[in-house]
């Protein structure tokens, strides 16, 4: 698959079209039957949690957070291609992928309420905490993959980032490193057409992001990022390649249907028409249609699962609502393995203040 897609030919892999019909071609879908239902549930769960989180933010129960709507196929389809021991190096808009790997909605809300414990996932799956400095996580993926090769492991690393991230030096340096050392990384670009307000065509002058792979002598392909089956198949193929040959760059052509974060107002920089155009391409709709056409899903199941996910999210929010501020000791305890005298002193001073304040 990887070699049959020349990034300069303007092709884009699609296995499931907007009407929810399987595209005839040489790549049979890898997700079928109950596995496909499970995948859809992941997407739907992420969608519900994301919608609710936006609401919770408006209620000031959590703070500013990125919005995932529209990119669920990218996150879920790619994460489903990973094995248990593979690594997920996230950006910050891959909620569905985190859930696939065992992260919880509770932790998602906890993080955005403002606790470091939100990055500590049950059972410590191999998920790096979200990465705020754009593009910087790309180099971490290269390093983890380097370690895997060194240790003779068979794992791969899936690194997510946006179209904006491709302008950063770290994108370039990270992929170059992985290419030179043939590290097992899938570089997965969620090209959602905007970096906050900057449209993709002002971000870089290359016709595609996939073609940037040529700069590193590695395969690059553009896929329909709203097509769960294409995302999954491409990531599976890339993982295979990564394990034996080295890195791959995938450009997933998608759209951020919501605002950049809850603090953003997309109406300033994009038209209602454009948003409307992407509406029917919603990645959930087409999987649902396919499942329905196969008798694997229906309105009742949709209702029931949505209600379940909503209840789970509400419950998680209530739990998080209960939590009080970060204990003072934690602020000092986790910076170093030991506690340098500087920190001990600052803590003692601060605690003296707290005592005084209480006594006053």
């Amino acid at each position: 698959m990887l070699t049959s897609f020349d990034p300069l030919k303007g092709k884009r892999l699609q296995l499931l079209d907007e009407a929810g019909r399987l595209v005839k071609g040489k790549f049979p879908p890898l997700l079928e039957g109950e596995a496909l239902v499970a995948a859809y549930r992941h997407m739907l769960r992420a969608r519900v949690a994301d919608d609710k989180a936006l609401l919770f933010q408006r209620q000031k129960r959590i703070h500013t957070l990125p919005v995932n709507r529209g990119q669920e196929a990218c996150a879920v389809g790619s994460a489903l291609a990973l094995g248990q021991d593979d690594w997920l190096v996230q950006s910050y808009r891959e909620l569905g992928g985190l859930l696939v790997r065992g992260a919880t909605i509770r932790n998602h809300l906890l993080y955005f309420k403002g606790s470091e414990w939100g990055s500590v996932h049950p059972g410590h799956p191999r998920i790096l905490p979200l990465s705020v400095p754009i593009g910087s996580q790309i180099t971490h993926a290269a390093g983890i993959a380097h370690a895997i090769r060194y240790q003779g492991g068979q794992e791969v690393v899936l690194a997510h980032f946006g179209d904006g991230a491709t302008s950063q030096g770290d994108f370039h340096e990270g992929i170059n490193w992985a290419s030179v050392f043939k590290c097992p990384v899938i570089f997965f670009c969620n090209n959602n057409h905007y970096a906050i307000s900057l449209p993709r065509h002002k971000q870089t002058a290359s016709a595609t992001i996939a073609q940037k792979a040529i700069a590193y002598g590695i395969p690059g392909l553009q896929i329909d990022g709203n097509d769960l089956l294409a995302v999954h198949a491409a990531t599976r193929a890339a993982a295979e390649h990564a394990r034996t040959e080295g890195p791959v760059l995938i450009e997933a052509f998608t759209y951020r249907m919501g605002p950049h974060t809850t603090a953003d107002d997309p109406s300033i920089y994009r038209s209602a028409e454009e948003e409307a155009e992407w509406q029917p391409r919603d990645p959930l709709i087409r999987v649902r249609r396919l499942l329905e056409s196969q008798g694997l899903w229906d309105d009742a199941r949709e209702e029931a699962f949505r209600a379940e996910a909503a209840a789970e999210t509400d419950q998680a929010m209530r739990e998080v609502d209960e939590l009080g501020e970060t204990p003072v000791d934690e602020i000092f305890a986790w910076q170093y393995a030991d506690r340098p005298r500087e920190l001990a002193r600052q803590q003692a001073d601060y605690e003296a203040f707290l005592k005084w304040k209480e006594a006053r």
């Binding site: 606790s115 302008s167 030096g169 920089y269 602020i331 920190l343």
Partner: protein
């Protein structure tokens, strides 16, 4: 005089310089069409055109490096780094080129460039959206670093920064952006870089602060007054060069010094000021100077942030401790 908040005052300075000087260009991530994530540059592209006010790709190193190139070619770039926590990708350009060009070329090439840098915490923001790393920046030879605390100062200092022949880091306290309004002249005026401002006289303690911490300081000074403690308050305004004289004058009078900043304590601005006061007025010190600062830790996420950010009460506590020395 119109009442302006900090955002409007900065906008007004930018608008003036764009109209006043063709060499001025304003750019950065999202600063053009959108007007910046804080809307500080809102409307400037509409007024001055896309050539003058524009969006750049998401890459701080080339924002800084291209800015240097423009400056060397005769322009006066005013660039924005979206948050203080994102200055680091541009650090190499800043230290190894921006700060050095004049000296390296004996003045043949200079870098009259202003770097706008929203900074500071207390806004329950995401990671790396709340840092205060002015000490790191002020340690770099060749840069000037200024931090306004009010709309009035912001406008006057920013115009001076843009007109300065050397690179200036203009750090904007996000927490103050829309916190209050103040009468600010519609026309242009300048406040010289490198001058502190004694904003309130007092007799027993000298309290030095700047940026967003000035509001905290004012409140603490009021609280102290209620406790019968008279505190002299100085707004440092410029971190480099630093107006040591104004602080020395005050310390010679009060004998006691406290410095308040958000950035990590160790190797911070407070340490530098203490060293200078030692050098020129050690014998005036009646008590150990007190540093009221952020901790030597990363900024906690919002559920812990209130511990990190100095509050008026914490400042009061420190002032009282300082006052009661020796006990």
């Amino acid at each position: 005089m119109p009442a302006m908040n900090l955002v409007q005052a900065i906008q007004s300075a930018l608008d003036f310089k764009l109209a006043d000087d063709e060499r001025v260009l304003v750019f950065g991530e999202d600063v053009g069409h959108e007007g910046g994530v804080f809307r500080v540059t809102q409307g400037l592209q509409a007024t001055h055109g896309e050539r003058r006010v524009f969006d750049t790709p998401l890459s701080e190193s080339v924002i800084m490096g291209a800015g240097l190139g423009m400056a060397v070619a005769g322009l006066r770039p005013v660039l924005e780094i979206q948050f203080c926590g994102f200055i680091y990708p541009a650090m190499n350009q800043l230290v190894t080129h921006v700060a050095r060009m004049r000296n390296r070329t004996r003045g043949v090439f200079t870098v009259p460039m202003t770097i706008r840098l929203p900074y500071g915490g207390g806004i329950q923001a995401l990671e790396l959206h709340s840092e205060s790393m002015e000490a790191m920046l002020a340690h770099i030879p060749g840069l000037k670093v200024v931090i306004p605390s009010t709309p009035y100062d912001a406008k006057g200092l920013l115009i001076s920064a843009i007109e300065c022949e050397d690179p200036v880091l203009f750090m904007e306290p996000k927490k103050v952006y829309r916190a209050f309004r103040q009468e600010v002249p519609a026309e242009a005026y300048r406040i010289p870089l490198g001058k502190a401002n004694r904003v309130q006289e007092g007799t027993r303690i000298t309290l030095v602060a700047y940026g967003a911490m000035m509001r905290v300081a004012r409140q603490a000074v009021d609280l102290a007054a209620k406790d019968g403690l008279s505190v002299e308050l100085i707004d440092l305004r410029s971190i480099y060069p630093m107006d040591t004289e104004t602080v020395l004058d005050s310390v010679r009078k009060t004998g006691r010094l406290a410095i308040l900043h958000e950035g990590p304590m160790s190797f911070g601005v407070a340490a530098e000021l203490i060293a200078r006061v030692n050098e020129e007025a050690l014998m005036s010190l009646e008590a150990p100077p007190r540093r009221i600062c952020g901790f030597d830790t990363i900024m906690p996420l919002p559920m812990g942030e209130q511990h990190y950010m100095p509050t008026p009460e914490r400042v009061l506590f420190e002032l009282l401790q300082l006052h009661s020395f020796p006990e």
